[in-house]
Symmetry: C2
Subunit: 263 residues, 2 copies
């Protein structure tokens, strides 16, 4: 059997589906046959941007003989899709960083796996997928290899990753992305009191990120906690009135002090 | 009296001194006369990169009649410098985001203030200062205006900021930069268990930052806490063995949930 995938069905019409449908067709050379969404307008919008895809909102109406069925829906909706989808004669993959692939075992007569781009997608923001890491898992080696192919045509960074690796990756991403973003929200609130906004910190944050990646976060660390500057730390704590923010300030300060000791 | 500054003395030879000496001379058109450092080699290294500056390690040897004395040393060292420096016939400014300007009151016969670039500086990294916000404070309007001039030739974003504004800015920067960097350290450790490093998250973090600045952090928020996805939250907490990280995970998750409720 040849592992090359030529025809695909896209299940879902959100941000990930939008970006991947276009990349699969235009960069990986896989023709998108059908786009399914519960909402026919969303499916039609994606299909309209593709060469010859049709849109449908009936899951039973998707063709059974495509090579790849890409389930690009929210994590919570994957189980629903898997149970309502007819069994198909092609590989099935979801795009989730967290959902185990076994959830797809009964859907595919070929193989199943995960095709996970590690990025935050917005419908209206152009993204260079060439730099986005793709994590690939298959229920067997043949499936993994077949899914690796198109990913490697889209991106320069493709990595085989089982559910355990994807799980760790997800926790790391929650700390690094979701939680950092929450701290930027705190900063934005503090700045709002002065009439400024988060954009004033943008050059600083860009450079902080570049240095963290280049030098490692511990070597790049600066600030009062790094210097164990109790005078500044206490003056900051005295100025924070929200008990939640006080506690976070202390917790993160202690984390930095502890990390410096370990090194 | 004319507010234009023509000749400057740089006190300090660290990263900020290195970048500002060059920008003042080459971009703002202020000739650097002298570079002082406790360490003559560091002072000489900076002076060598300038048109006609001399290096010294004797604070009593600095010329008394320059227009600007820029004290670019660590926050903790400013008081020491201020008490050991001879009174001078020019304006004196420090480059700190946190130290009140009154610390310089006895040093200058003209005026004193703060000339604070909000950025993290490294000696060996080229930086485009044109995008770096400068915060200016003077003990009187004339001094503030005189300091504003060269800042506005170096950067497109110059803002008058008293000590209270700089104080809030600093707390915001600690949350947004220092604490985010600490979370990247946590992520780096988790990734190290899989053989990956923080660089695998770089495209995600770049995009997370761009979206936070563009859309606001609350609108840009994603992840299990944003969705109040207790199943994923509990599975992450179960996998974290370090009690400090467990507590931070809970604290930051609760912060995100609370912020979503407020909006």
């Amino acid at each position: 059997m040849e592992g090359t995938l030529k025809r695909a069905v896209i299940i879902g019409a959100g941000n990930v589906a939008t970006h991947l449908a276009s990349a699969l067709e235009n960069t990986a050379g896989i023709a998108i046959d059908t786009v399914w969404s519960r909402n026919i307008e969303n499916a039609s919008r994606i299909a309209a941007g593709l060469k010859s895809a049709v849109a449908t909102d009936e899951i039973s109406a998707i063709p059974r003989y495509a090579d790849l069925y890409l389930i690009a829906v929210s994590d919570d909706a994957i189980a629903d899709i898997a149970s309502s989808m007819p069994p198909v004669n092609g590989m099935v993959a979801h795009t989730s960083g967290t959902v185990p692939i076994d959830i797809l075992a009964t859907v595919s007569c070929k193989g199943y796996g995960s095709f996970y781009p590690l990025q935050t997608f917005s419908k209206d923001r152009a993204l260079d997928l060439a730099n986005v890491p793709f994590f690939i898992e298959g229920n067997d080696e043949e499936t993994a290899k077949a899914l690796y192919g198109p990913a490697a045509r889209i991106s320069t960074r493709v990595i085989y990753a089982d559910s355990s690796l994807r799980g760790k990756l997800h926790i790391a991403a929650v700390f690094a992305s979701n939680f950092a973003n929450a701290l930027w929200g705190v900063a934005d609130d503090i700045l709002a009191e002065t009439g400024l906004g988060l954009d004033i910190l943008h050059p600083l944050l860009e450079e902080t990120l570049s240095k963290a990646v280049l030098m490692g976060p511990d070597n790049a660390q600066t600030g009062p906690a790094k210097r164990n500057d109790q005078h500044t730390i206490n003056s900051h704590l005295a100025k924070l009135t929200d008990p939640r923010l006080k506690e976070l300030y202390s917790g993160l300060t202690n984390l930095i002090i502890a990390r410096q000791c370990q090194k």
